[in-house]
């Protein structure tokens, strides 16, 4: 057993999840592949979205994968960092917008 929860080498084995549930694994990877094809959004735009989400869900595998994917697509480090900030801004906004709930409750309970 590995002595830590995340091993970079495990990313290469991602495809192996299909071995224990072929139907679901295959459906997932087909879907995943299709999502990132060129569509109404370019593959480049989708890669930046994936990078931002990778940070928000704090997935180290995804961060490695989409930093490399971004490099492969010619995305610059400035673009990558802005995408991370976009994700972070939404994440902190999601926290802060709950402040309205706090304010509502506070006001309701206060005389």
């Amino acid at each position: 057993m590995a002595d830590s929860y995340y091993d970079p080498a495990d990313l290469r084995k991602f495809g192996n999840i299909t071995e224990w549930s072929e139907e679901l694994g295959t459906k997932f990877f087909d879907y995943y592949g299709k999502v990132f094809e060129e569509g109404a959004l370019s593959a480049r735009e989708k890669s930046l979205i994936a990078l931002a989400v990778a940070h928000v869900v704090k997935c180290p595998y995804c961060i490695d994968a989409y930093t490399k994917d971004g490099l492969q697509k010619g995305i610059t480090k400035e673009e990558m960092m802005e995408a991370v900030h976009a994700g972070a801004a939404i994440e902190s906004g999601a926290t802060l917008v709950h402040g309205v709930q706090m304010m509502n409750k506070y006001n309701k309970l206060s005389m």
Binding site: R12, E38, S42, A43, K68, L71, Q72, K73, T76
Partner: protein
């Protein structure tokens, strides 16, 4: 950034040719990753055999004005291997009689060979359909004696193919050296000014993109779109096609992969991206590579690994196209670089 070639630094990778040992050993020898010959055997392509010869690629010398970090030739100002006029005469004899439709001059910086212009003038008389010179762009701005190269190329209807790692200054200079980006932009503008790369021009100007690091090139069509948009908006530069080329683990790129701890991951990436449909069109099936001293190779990469063709004809002075075509191509694990994704060759993707 290094200013000397691996050879000048007495690096064991090139002086003792440790490269093949590395490519045949480690993760391939222990069975973690498959050997290239076994992968192509699965689709009935081993031994790999040439088709009709289409491209004669001649390396006129390893001397270069740049010392790019990824260079598989290990070229640089300190390299003294330069094709002599005598070997050029032997090449001309072959050029006049070959069935190949493309002549492809490479280096180093081919323009630094003192007999370069004479060789181009003579070769142009042979009436080859597509006559390519791989120019690194900065050479055009390196010294006054090269300033008229755009005019010289135009006069002989040369198809210019140039390296341009990125459309931003930072990435270009990191891979190729300080100031390379600005000089390349100026050189491209000068080529445009004499008609190269313009939309309806017959003066062909193509760019080569190869990744500046341990990752594979993206989709060639998408990269071309991004390059065209950025270069025209920022610098009013036009060009015809972009060729996305995969870096092969040879010489300085191999040295970089090992030193940066990326070698194994990179080889995994190449093997993962193996595309069986690229195998039939890899460039060694339609190309012969000639070294500065006249030896013959399946490709420029095998040349740098010292793997001469497996044929009784091994030198340009004994050249015989028919005999040469009847040979097995020598493969090793670096070949995964040419079959990754959409495939890769000196003419870009192959599928």
């Amino acid at each position: 950034m290094a200013t000397k070639s691996l050879k000048a630094r007495h690096n064991a990778l090139v002086t003792d040719n440790k490269q093949l040992e590395i490519l045949e050993g480690g993760i391939f020898e222990n069975g973690e990753l498959p050997f290239f010959k076994d992968k192509i055997a699965q689709i009935g392509q081993f031994p790999l055999r040439p088709k009709k010869l289409e491209i004669l690629q001649i390396n006129v010398g390893y001397m270069c004005n740049q010392v790019c970090e990824h260079c598989h030739v290990d070229a640089g100002p300190d390299r003294k291997e330069i094709m002599t006029r005598e070997t050029m005469e032997q090449c001309l004899e072959v050029i006049r009689n070959t069935g190949a439709h493309t002549l492809d001059l490479t280096g180093g910086a081919p323009e630094m060979n003192p007999n370069f212009r004479w060789f181009v003038e003579e070769a142009a008389k042979a009436g080859i359909k597509d006559f390519i010179v791989r120019s690194n762009l900065t050479i055009i701005r390196a010294n006054k004696k090269y300033y008229d190269l755009p005019q010289f190329f135009k006069k002989h209807n040369i198809h210019v193919i140039s390296s341009m790692p990125h459309y931003t200054r930072g990435k270009t200079d990191k891979q190729r050296g300080e100031g390379v980006f600005d000089k390349s932009i100026k050189a491209l503008q000068e080529l445009n000014a004499v008609g190269y790369g313009m939309p309806d021009s017959s003066l062909r100007l193509d760019l080569v993109y190869n990744p500046s690091g341990a990752f594979l090139p993206g989709d060639q069509v998408a990269m071309e779109r991004d390059f065209k948009k950025a270069l025209i908006e920022d610098f009013e530069i036009q060009f015809h096609n972009l060729f996305a080329i995969t870096n092969l683990p040879i010489a300085r790129f191999l040295d970089y992969l090992i030193a940066s701890g990326n070698y194994e991951d990179y080889m995994y990436s190449l093997v993962d991206a193996y595309n069986p449909s690229a195998v039939a069109n890899v460039m060694c099936t339609n190309t012969i590579s000639v070294s500065w001293d006249g030896w013959l190779y399946d490709c420029d990469f095998n040349q740098m690994l010292g793997l001469k063709v497996a044929s009784k004809i091994k030198h340009i002075k004994d050249y015989n196209e028919e005999v040469l075509t009847d040979r097995n191509i020598i493969v090793s694990q670096h070949c995964f670089g040419c079959t990754a994704g959409a495939g890769s060759s000196c003419q870009g993707s192959v599928t």
